[in-house]
């Protein structure tokens, strides 16, 4: 619409003037709504940081003790505030979930974009979306009531609450995320690259593993990192399945506690507001926020970089 922009004006062509005062008001209203998202971020940062600082000043715990301490017992008479056990629990769940979700997710994505008949695709995609739509508390119930008893017939030393079933259900939960993001990355690889491979007589496996996957690698990496961030923040399923025992361990048969399930544990109890155990949930929340934020930023950076390649 070149007519609408004055010659030489710096205004973009889709900048149709909003002449009326009432229209300007509507525009401002819309802006205010969009600005709520910035206020939300500000609110999260302010709340977490002020309460976390309140925790550090009130409990006289130094940040070094908090981030490096290997004992977590905030409600005991002799409280210890070392977050390492909670981070370790979260890491166990995240790694376990990725072990389940990443291979299956990538293979599913390859199948859907390279092999599947359009009809199969049409059925398989909604099924995956359904998996993503099931509330996380349902996964927790399934882990606790079906998966753990089932696994205990094979693994005798498995505790009632254990990191293993927690990881498996969180893996199932993030599977649709991995597969759909990987599929996006794989279908962004230009057709010409594949055709070049086939023209040289390659099989589908060779084209997929030597041409498509390397070209889509950054997108797949971003998908995995985003899935990790989702697993880190996952709450209800791990609270139900993995237990409430802060534990520095690499043993998936044991009961552990993640950062998220600690927050749930304190929120459910009658912890008086303003007390030190109450303030810990903000310090833990701040740590959780920083970890997921870091992962998301890395993923976004990777995606941006890879978009430039084929844009």
């Amino acid at each position: 619409m070149p007519i609408l922009s004055k010659p030489g004006s710096s205004r973009p062509i889709d900048g149709v003037p909003t002449r009326l005062r009432s229209e300007k008001f509507i525009r401002f209203l819309c802006f205010a709504c969009a600005a709520i998202s910035i206020l939300t971020t500000l609110g999260i940062v302010l709340v977490l940081s002020t309460e976390a600082i309140a925790f550090f000043t009130k409990s006289k715990v130094t940040p070094a003790e908090f981030f490096l301490g290997t004992e977590w017992s905030p409600t005991f008479n002799d409280p210890k505030f070392g977050i390492v056990p909670l981070v370790c629990g979260t890491a166990l769940i995240t790694v376990g979930a990725c072990v389940v979700a990443v291979p299956i997710g990538i293979l599913t994505a390859i199948f859907l974009s390279e092999y599947a008949h359009p009809t199969v695709r049409k059925i398989a995609k909604p099924v995956l979306e359904l998996l993503a739509g099931i509330p996380t508390v349902v996964y927790g119930y399934i882990a606790l009531v079906y998966l753990t008893p089932g696994l205990r017939t094979f693994i005798k030393e498995l505790e009632v609450f254990n990191a293993l079933s927690g990881s498996i259900v969180v893996g199932i939960m993030i599977l649709p995320l991995v597969s759909s993001l990987c599929e996006d990355a794989i279908s962004a690889v230009p057709k010409g690259l594949r055709e070049g491979g086939y023209g040289l007589g390659s099989t589908k496996l060779e084209v997929t593993s030597k041409i498509v996957l390397p070209s889509a690698l950054s997108g797949i990496m971003a998908a995995v990192i985003l899935a990790m961030s989702r697993a880190v923040g996952e709450t209800m399923a791990v609270t139900l399945a993995a237990g409430q025992t802060p534990n520095v361990t690499a043993d998936y048969r044991q009961s552990i506690q993640t950062m998220t399930s600690y927050i749930v544990q304190i929120s459910k109890g009658d912890t008086p507001t303003g007390s030190i155990p109450f303030l810990t949930i903000f310090a833990v929340g701040a740590t959780l926020f920083l970890i997921t934020m870091g992962l998301n930023i890395v993923a976004i950076k990777i995606v941006r970089k890879y978009r430039k390649v084929y844009a």
Partner: protein, 291 residues
């Protein structure tokens, strides 16, 4: 070509072919695995849960005796929370999307910043929103552990999603419709109000329904702001205390008695039924939008 070389080539080709087929089978297997997992999960829940759902179950309050326990308070609580969340989140989310899509100024640092911020917010764990709601709505605004505080927390949680899906719907409206409207002398708001929003409506509705179904299934932020599990009265206003279905499921699942775990399965059936209805609605709307 001599015979031996030909044979070697053929076996090599064979091996490549076999590998290729094996890989295809592996891929099929992984998809099948996802489908089998879904079906077996749902089957296991439904087989115990279905028997538990009865009119008594739907119209009773929670109880210490598992057989008498019901989900009345939880269903009503969920409906209250989702209803108020919808009332607050839909206008704000759509207006924000309109600003970002229709009023955007190209290469504006501010809109870019808002956009990046929204996608970042979508990745923040839900329990962090719970901490925000606890501080902001429960303590600072003095709303207490009420339905209103829960709904506002949920609003903040689903807003990024509502904005993103509404933006997608607005993007799908052809540029020519806007140009024709401007060409007839309509102002920007008239164009948005009478042309863009009506054409984007089915898409926006689909996205909103999906966001609200996320709100129905979400429980972590509500536990953080202090929703309780034992409610023996119907919530009558936005200032009442409340529980929601997922929290009820959480509470029953974590009890050791078999009776309560069966009740949890029953509540899951109810929750999934509500979600199924909402999702079917979204799919119907999406099909209508494509036409």
């Amino acid at each position: 070509m001599n015979f031996l070389l030909l044979r070697r080539l053929r076996t090599r080709a064979n091996r490549r072919w076999v590998k290729d087929k094996m890989f295809e089978f592996l891929c099929q297997l992984s998809v099948l695995l996802a489908v089998v997992i879904l079906i077996s999960l749902l089957w296991s829940v439904f087989s115990t849960g279905f028997g538990r759902v009865s009119s008594q179950f739907l119209t009773s309050f929670p109880s210490r005796i598992p057989q008498n326990a019901g989900v009345k308070a939880a269903i009503l609580g969920s409906l209250w929370v989702v209803g108020i969340t919808a009332v607050v989140a839909i206008p704000i989310g759509v207006a924000a999307a309109v600003y970002l899509e229709e009023y955007k100024i190209r290469d504006s640092k501010l809109t870019d910043f808002i956009q990046i911020n929204i996608s970042n917010l979508a990745g923040v764990p839900s329990i962090v929103y719970g901490l925000l709601g606890l501080e902001l709505f429960v303590r600072l605004a003095g709303l207490g552990r009420s339905i209103l505080a829960g709904s506002l927390t949920m609003t903040l949680l689903i807003l990024p999603m509502v904005i993103i899906v509404s933006q997608e719907a607005l993007k799908a409206v052809p540029r020519t419709i806007r140009e024709a409207s401007y060409g007839l002398g309509a102002t920007r708001w008239q164009t948005i109000r009478y042309q863009v929003l009506p054409s984007a409506l089915p898409g926006i509705m689909t996205g909103i329904i999906l966001s609200l179904s996320r709100a129905i299934g979400e429980s972590a932020p509500l536990i953080t702001i202090g929703a309780v599990t034992y409610i023996s009265s119907i919530p009558e206003g936005v200032n009442d205390r409340f529980t929601v279905l997922p929290i009820q499921i959480f509470d029953w699942s974590s009890r050791p008695q078999k009776g309560f775990q069966d009740a949890a399965a029953g509540a899951i059936v109810v929750l999934l039924a509500i979600l199924l209805v909402m999702n079917s609605l979204a799919i119907i709307l999406r099909a209508r939008a494509r036409r």
